[in-house]
Subunit: 630 residues, 2 copies
């Protein structure tokens, strides 16, 4: 039995079969809806309003009485028993928004010499004679090798099929489209004459939460546009684990996830080429950096064993795939290069960052940290390299925090609480009224709450004078960062004691991972000579505050550099330089992965780090909080 479901206010109609629920209907209709738990019925985010029709549903316990009386239900728990009409409220939608992609204040990872993975070359061939009657392919190869340093040349059947005509049509002048693959270079197309269409590449950062793409002019190396959006896979779950579970436990789950990321990328391509004289067929190479799970899902490769001990990915490195095999809206002959992973939880995004900072060329002992949903880090220099990952949780990306959000308009990115009167001042992205708080704001917030004597070293709210900035509901305590009157939502923007504990766990995981990794190689904090920080905290990060809360080691500020989204930077560098690409593969091979769950003292370190800044204050000699409660 199939039922028609009309979805408002979109006015879209779709159908569901038996055993399908409203979440299936919404996904089928192509609408992005919040669903962190991947349809398990636990996150309560996929609330919809039932307007017409009957259904069987469970999950009522997840809704308030008022919501139930108003007709709300959880889409994932509602199975239609008639044709229905439903409305998806704005609060349940993953809205399209501008993900912050600018690289202000971040190192720009400029490539000085352009030697892109794809290029077009103008050639003039000698006209054959009875004394020089070599075949067309050899003639082409010889002319090309004379002009261009190439790996061994390949040419496909399709190109040979059009070669005799093209050479003579162009009167022995020809434009050759050359793709650098791996260990060889392929002539992927030819055009008669020298008037060729411009050509472009894409650099993509496939994040679990957001996807960012640069449209790159492959002749100048310039980014002609930058677009970012949510990863539409969010409807299948917020983190990589829930997406793997979805892929494994649903029939065609893997295909759905693959198609969803393809759609996400294709929409970015549409946005990037809109209003420009550029067609999808003018995009000839794509360079993608993503974590190991994202890369598996993008390529349609079973991620099952990433999640199960001993955490084995299906592959780490793969030769560039043809776009036609991945459904990307580019030239079908374009190649898709995915940066190599080194383990299930250290993926191509981290390798991209390690390449951006050229960690394997450094004389100094260098620490590279990328803070996302996980904290991943690489330590070493030109002699040796180790990497590890820890489950920091998405707190610094705004996940699991009452008013946490990513660094978009209205996000508090800098905040100070004045000790004594507890006045709060803040800065927001885009100078909008505050609607939430992003990673850089949360680091500030933890430090300033501590300095203002609002929390103790364990994150407990201290007993304080009555202030209109405090309230509590069901024994949970809240501090108001911005009152309803001044916020962009008309409601208080708050941070709770639970949020603070959550942030402490996140920062503790990162610091514990650094300590564990150092001890595994027999070094300590003072040996670190430079630190590169990457991640989606915001436009900048207050390193001083990050040290104060015990997230990063207590090292002189000048040793730190914040480089923003190094994943997309690395992807772009590689797109523009074939040597960097080869170098990246070698870099990945050089890194030894350390498994933190595997018989070392990570848990001990973690527990010790669950204080601000740390149980052992000697590790943070520069940090000195005045206790206001004493």
């Amino acid at each position: 039995m199939a039922y028609k479901i009309v979805i408002w206010p979109d006015n879209l109609t779709t159908t569901v079969n038996d055993n399908e629920n409203l979440l299936d209907a919404i996904v089928t209709a192509g609408i992005s809806i919040k669903s962190s738990c991947g349809g398990a019925g636990t996150c309560s985010q996929c609330k919809v309003l039932i307007k017409k029709g009957t259904a069987s549903f469970s999950g009522a316990g997840k809704l308030t009485e008022q919501q139930l009386s108003e007709g709300y239900a959880l889409a994932c728990q509602t199975y239609p028993q008639s044709n229905m009409e439903i409305e998806i409220p704005a609060t349940s939608r993953l809205s399209e928004h501008q993900v912050l992609v600018s690289q202000d204040k971040a190192w720009d990872g400029t490539v000085t010499e352009i030697n892109p993975l794809f290029k077009k070359i103008k050639l003039e061939l000698q006209i054959p004679t009875l004394n020089d009657h070599s075949d067309d392919v050899s003639r082409l190869f010889n002319a090309l090798s004379a002009k261009e340093k190439t790996d061994p040349l390949r040419i496909g059947l399709e190109v040979i099929q059009k070669l005799p005509y093209t050479l003579r049509k162009g009167n022995w002048r020809i434009t050759v489209s050359l793709s650098y693959i791996k260990d060889y270079t392929e002539i992927v197309d030819i055009e008669p004459g020298w008037d060729y269409r411009q050509y472009y590449g894409l650099a993509i950062d496939i994040g679990t939460t957001t996807v960012v793409a640069h449209l790159v002019d492959m002749e100048t190396g310039e980014s002609l546009g930058i677009e970012g959006t949510y990863n539409k896979q969010a409807i299948f779950g917020d983190d990589v684990i829930s997406r793997i579970i979805y892929a494994v436990e649903h029939e065609s789950g893997l295909q759905e996830l693959q198609k969803t990321i393809q759609t996400t990328i294709n929409e970015l391509i549409n946005a990037l080429i809109k209003d420009k004289d550029i067609k999808p067929a003018d995009i000839w190479y794509v360079s993608c950096a993503g974590n190991t799970t994202m890369t598996h899902l993008f390529l349609g490769i079973d991620p099952t064993y990433i999640r199960l001990e001993p955490y084995v990915p299906a592959f780490n490195s793969i030769i560039p795939i043809k776009a036609v095999d991945l459904g990307l809206k580019t030239n079908p002959k374009a190649r898709i290069y995915c940066l190599p992973s080194i383990a299930s939880y250290v993926g191509g995004d981290i390798i991209a960052g390690a390449e951006v900072v050229r960690i394997h060329k450094q004389d100094k002992l260098t620490l590279f940290i990328d803070v996302g949903t996980n904290g991943e880090m690489v330590l070493g220099n030109k002699e040796w390299l180790v990497a590890c990952a820890c489950s920091a949780g998405p707190a610094f990306e705004g996940g699991g925090i009452t008013h946490g959000m990513r660094a978009m308009n209205g996000a508090i990115e800098h905040i100070r609480v004045k000790p004594g009167n507890l006045d709060v001042t803040w800065e927001t992205v885009g100078n909008k009224k505050p609607v939430g708080i992003c990673g850089s704001g949360l680091i500030d917030c933890l430090a300033t709450l501590m300095e203002a004597g609002i929390i103790d070293r364990s994150g407990n709210f201290l007993p304080l004078l009555l202030s209109n900035r405090f309230f509590s509901i069901d024994r949970e305590k809240y501090f108001i960062l911005a009152h309803a009157e001044v916020s962009g939502t008309g409601k208080d923007i708050t941070i709770s004691e639970a949020d603070v504990k959550n942030l402490i766990r996140s920062k503790a995981a990162i610091f514990a991972a650094i300590q564990t990794m150092l001890k595994m190689v027999g070094l300590s904090l003072e040996n670190i000579e430079q630190v590169y920080i990457a991640g989606g905290f915001g436009r900048y990060i207050n390193i001083a505050d990050a040290i104060k809360i015990g997230m990063f080691p207590d090292l002189p500020m000048e040793k730190y550099k914040y480089i923003g989204n190094s994943s997309i930077l690395g992807a772009k560098m590689i797109l523009l330089d074939s040597e960097t690409r080869d170098d990246t593969e070698k870099l990945a091979d050089k890194i030894t992965y350390l498994e933190l769950s595997d018989g070392n003292n990570f848990m001990e370190e973690f527990v010790s780090a669950l204080f601000i800044p740390h149980t052992n204050m000697q590790l943070f000699p520069s940090v000195n909080y005045v206790s206001h409660s004493e």
Copy 2:
């Protein structure tokens, strides 16, 4: 306007549009009909009987009055103007027949060690642990490299996609399908466990006239079956030139020719696997040897410039193509390797032969000659190699000779005329009644006619005593080889003066090419230390007679070796040994092509060779004809 055409006795119905003739209808219906001129209206071979309907036709002048009165017409010159019924007489059909493919008395080119281009390997992988958590692909590569010497390994997306499941399903035992491509080895498939299906390869000789294929067990190297058939492309013309013209001058001509050779090969595959427990999907590699034009047509590559000065092929060497791109009835993942050509008229069939005789490993100065429609030869040793081609014409394949035929049942393959009473004795293929005469018989015939005093050194019939073996029609003289009473056709089997002159031109071209090539490298006949003869003459060739008629140099018999169809032998050797394959590519690179039309004395040599054995008798010291007419 479209008309229905019913074809008898096949009882097939097809339709033609305006501008289409009966030949088009017959081709569309899939019937093989003789048409040497490719539909030009000149060869008069495509005679059909009009039974019903009206048509406009020309070409009446090509038919006898009786044929016209009986209702015959040339299919290629007949354009239907109503629905029609026609009959194709047996004489107009290219009958399926057994092309002689056995290698009796020929060197068998045995490969002593099997290292085939495709193999299946049983592997057992270490089970991953927390201390050994490398990705599935690396684990597979490491296990494979430890067991098998491979070029750099590649693995495609499709195989990676099934890898995680397959490894665990087989409990870390797996069978890997490995294809040697070029400079790298690709894992093209994987199966769980060690119980794999047997695997096979095909070696194919794609001749202009006939196509021969071996089905090869890739584990033992044994040929499980040999099949041969006419190249169905014959309906588009007898020789490579008329096929190139067809490909170039007809819309979709190239596609038609490509499809026709695919069909020819697929029918051979059907015949080879019939009654065996072998499926097309069990064929994993194909090795093809063909002349340059045949290889272009097989791959759908424009052959236009092979025919036009300066005779430039589109390509000589090409990496193995995927079967799925060529419509072959094999495993779609099978690879098709085409042996390299070196010039427009020295193709992969010749390179196959040169590899069979290992000419580039020889200390002795070696001459390799392949006599087919063209005469092609390679001269040299391990130090240097040259090759050339001459238009010998198809006389020694039976083409253009009154009762010429290929070496099949009933072909006279050995013949003697007794001087004096002119009694004729013969041997035929299969000991059948004679129906014609094949290449080896024609060489004998020329020699014996000379010895019996029937022809002079220029090929003129001498005035002789009246004999019932002579007759003449329209000033053309005929000698009866077999009277109607003893022949298999019920008609006299004859040779005409024109046939003799034709044969002399063919043998002269071959000898002149040898002489020209020798002179170009500053050598002469006596420098030749060994000669390998290949071709479709028959089961054997009478070298003594070939010398007597001045076709091959007057060298001691022990310097000669007849190796039969060396094209298919070479294709099979390569299929079974990847090193031989690589060696063949190097061999082709080493050969310098000499263009006989290009400012040398070929024409002079040709004219001097238009005598039996030669104008210059000093070149043939062992040959001494007694003149019976003196």
